[in-house]
Amino acid sequence: MSMPKFTTEPVTINLGPQHPSTHGVFRIRISFDGEDVVDAEPVFGYLHRGTEKLAESRTYVQIVTLTDRLDYVSSMSNNLSYVLAVEKLADIKVPERAMFLRVISAELQRIASHLMAIGFWLNDLGAFATPLMYCFREREKILDMFEMLCGARITLSYMRPGGVLQDAPEEFWQALEVFLKEFPGYIHELEDLISGNEIVLARSKGIGILSGADAVNSSITGPILRASNVNWDLRKADPYEIYDQLEFDVPLGENGDTFDRYIVRILEMKESIKIVNQCKENIPNGKIRESNVPFFIRPPEGDAYASVEGPKGELGFYLVSDGGISPYRCHIRAPSFINLTSLTDMLKGWKMGDVINIFGSLDVVIGEVDR
């Protein structure tokens, strides 16, 4: 008599689209063998709004408002990338003061975005809401400053082809000064509480490793790439605006695990503070917008691609013009989307708890993934 063969089969779970840790409407179809991940397949498109197609029926200035809604926690960087592309396409010069204002707001936005990334990552690790609330407290100050700049907090639309919407009011500079003075102490506090926490270290060191070669091969950019010890930052490699006049460093991780992604973001916030400080010191007086930019921009026929180092990675806009008032084609290189390409490889073999941990450390915003 032979024993019946005992077989097991993996369980497939739909993680999302309604799930507390998918940061929006995102779905990962995961096969588990017990607690171990056998296979994972990201499924997205739930938040698709057709931004690229909508852009074809908007004027060049109107599209700025569409870019706000891509990565809705870093509108400034989206605005910046888009207006750079338009300026390249239509050959518009930008006054220097506007460039400084743009860099200040983009770097503040980077801090805000990284704060959210770190807060939600720790939330995913199970430190329920406490670190998140601390991060949000600081992010709130940045949003207040944005409100002074342009009257909005999330969907900012601050930048325009040829400059910015309006000059920063006096109260903005005061708030900025207080913020720059207080924020380094706050990063120090956050590092004190988290970087040495034994449980955080046990959960994040050596987890979800992405090698530098894999990262480059799958076009990953931003903090995730730099955490894998690849020295690549568009602000240094292909300086736009005034970044070539500024002094700052590019932090690099060593192993490419989730802890490195966290620490790279912390260090980048410190660098951003440096950048904002320099901009605040050196900002010239003058115009904030080129006055000869028409309301309906009609760029000559042709195409242009401009990209910035956004908080999530290389954010690029590719615009094709047929000479009309709206682009013939608009393509968005969304870093959140492309950073997901190696998700399956990163998840395989790890446990259920690590799935959330790794996905959280990628800092994906669904508005940008689905566009």
Binding site: V11, I13, H19, P20, S21, F32, E35, L122, N123, D124, L125, G126, A127, F128, A129, T130, M133, Y134, R137, L193, S195, G196, N197, E198, I199, V200, L201, A202, R203, K205, V216, N229, V230, N231, W232, D233, L234, R235, K236, A237, D238, E247, D249, V250, P251, L252, G253, E254, N255, D260, I263, V264, L267, K351, M352, G353, D354, V355, I356
Partner: protein, 403 residues
């Protein structure tokens, strides 16, 4: 059962005496029944009320930890918030999934709640416990709290939901593992007190057992955090991973019962730890024992809240290896250590004097500190280095000038 008079106390016998005064002796059974009902009524309501206050306390304190206010709208300082919560919960539709096992699904919340309530009836809140002198109190606690595992598995299995199932599987694995160090830690207490009765254990704590056996206290406290699945061991629910774990499919009144039991668990656990390790009602004189008891319970509950507010969650395999590699070993070591000390120090009748207990405390604290220092130095892998570098340029060999 009720031969001796205990003076003014609040246990089964005295209540039976009071009720018996109103009824003829031929109705013994009725007196017994009425006493039982009165007692259950008192225990359940006292616990439910304190749980209500505790949920308010937890949410306010968590709010403070998280740099926000917490509930403050309904009633003074938001004190009526638990009532609002309850009204909301019971007015929700009570859904049972189509594919669920209806009977098991419906019983599970009750099975989850009952053991938590039962445990309190043996705890001495004054001179005596509600059930009088139950002489196997410790065994009763271990046995009854073990039922929780079954309830969680019932809920997870009956829901026919993958998240609930995963949560329940984790729960069973974790709860069973942590029961072992917990029971071993209790064994060490029995060695000193020489009795299973909680009243005797409290009376023998002329020196608090938390001082006499710090390792045992650490093991028991940690294991009981896991037993009620609080952070950093909240694998069973693990909100960010499993949605809501084993009670994902529950709603309405059933969900309310689960929440009630879950919020009651910290109080009950704190009550048990106070009784076993912090001398129960013992304290300095002008303040009555009951107040001391409440104070100690409050401190323990606050400590658990502190953990919850500040620590992330461990992974399931880390939790299991912590139970078997660290706590199990520590509990065994504690047991052996105490056995040797009790054997050496006890007098002819097998009793330990207060001086002996102080001596044991001194020795054990020395050993405990040594062990923790050694674990920190030798066992922990060197994870603290931050290996990030900073580069002032950025290039991986690509040139972008000529693009």
């Amino acid at each position: 059962m009720c031969n001796e008079s205990n003076g003014i106390s609040f246990d089964f016998c005295s209540i039976q005496g009071i009720i018996g005064g109103f009824l003829p002796e031929s109705l013994d059974w009725l007196v017994f029944l009425l006493t039982a009902i009165t007692l259950s009524f008192l225990v359940i309501n006292a616990l439910v009320l304190s749980t209500a206050i505790y949920t308010w306390f937890e949410r306010r304190v968590l709010g403070r930890f998280q740099a926000r206010l917490g509930p403050n709208r309904w009633g003074p300082f938001g004190l009526l918030q638990p009532i609002a919560d309850l009204l909301k919960l019971i007015s929700k539709e009570d859904l049972i999934p189509d594919q669920a096992d209806r009977i098991v699904f419906s019983i599970a919340p009750v099975v989850f709640l009952v053991p938590v309530l039962l445990v309190v009836s043996v705890v001495p809140l004054g001179g005596d416990s509600f059930l009088g002198r139950l002489n196997i109190g410790v065994l009763f606690i271990i046995a009854v709290t073990g039922l929780n595992t079954i309830a969680i598995f019932m809920a997870g299995w009956a829901s026919r939901n993958k998240y609930a199932m995963l949560g329940a599987m984790r729960g069973v694995a974790m709860l069973i593992s942590y029961e072992i160090p917990m029971a071993l830690a209790i064994t060490a207490i029995l060695l000193i007190s020489g009795s299973f009765a909680l009243t005797t254990i409290v009376n023998s704590q002329s020196v608090f057992f938390a001082l006499v056996q710090p390792i045992g206290f650490f093991v028991f406290f940690t294991a009981s955090l896991a037993e009620m699945s609080r952070t950093p061991f909240d694998q069973i629910e693990s909100e960010s991973e499993l949605g809501s774990g084993y009670h994902t499919e529950y709603s309405g009144m059933k969900y309310a019962i689960f929440q009630l039991a879950e919020f009651m668990a910290p109080i009950v656990t704190a009550i048990i730890i106070t009784t076993l390790y912090l001398g129960g009602t013992r304290g300095f004189d002008p303040i009555p024992g009951q107040l001391w008891f409440v104070l100690k319970v409050f401190l323990l509950v606050f400590l658990m809240l502190w953990f919850r507010a500040t620590w992330p969650r461990l992974r399931i395999d880390q939790i299991m290896s912590f139970a078997w590699k660290a706590l199990f070993g520590l509990a065994l070591f504690n047991l052996v250590l105490l056995t040797i000390e009790v054997q050496l120090l006890q007098d002819g009748e097998g009793k330990l004097q207060t001086d002996d207990l102080w001596l044991m405390s001194a020795i054990n604290w020395g050993i405990a500190l040594l062990i923790f220092v050694m674990m920190a130095v030798f066992k922990s892998p060197n994870r603290h280095g931050i290996n990030a570098q900073v580069s002032s340029t950025a290039s991986i060999g690509l040139k972008l000038e000529d693009k």
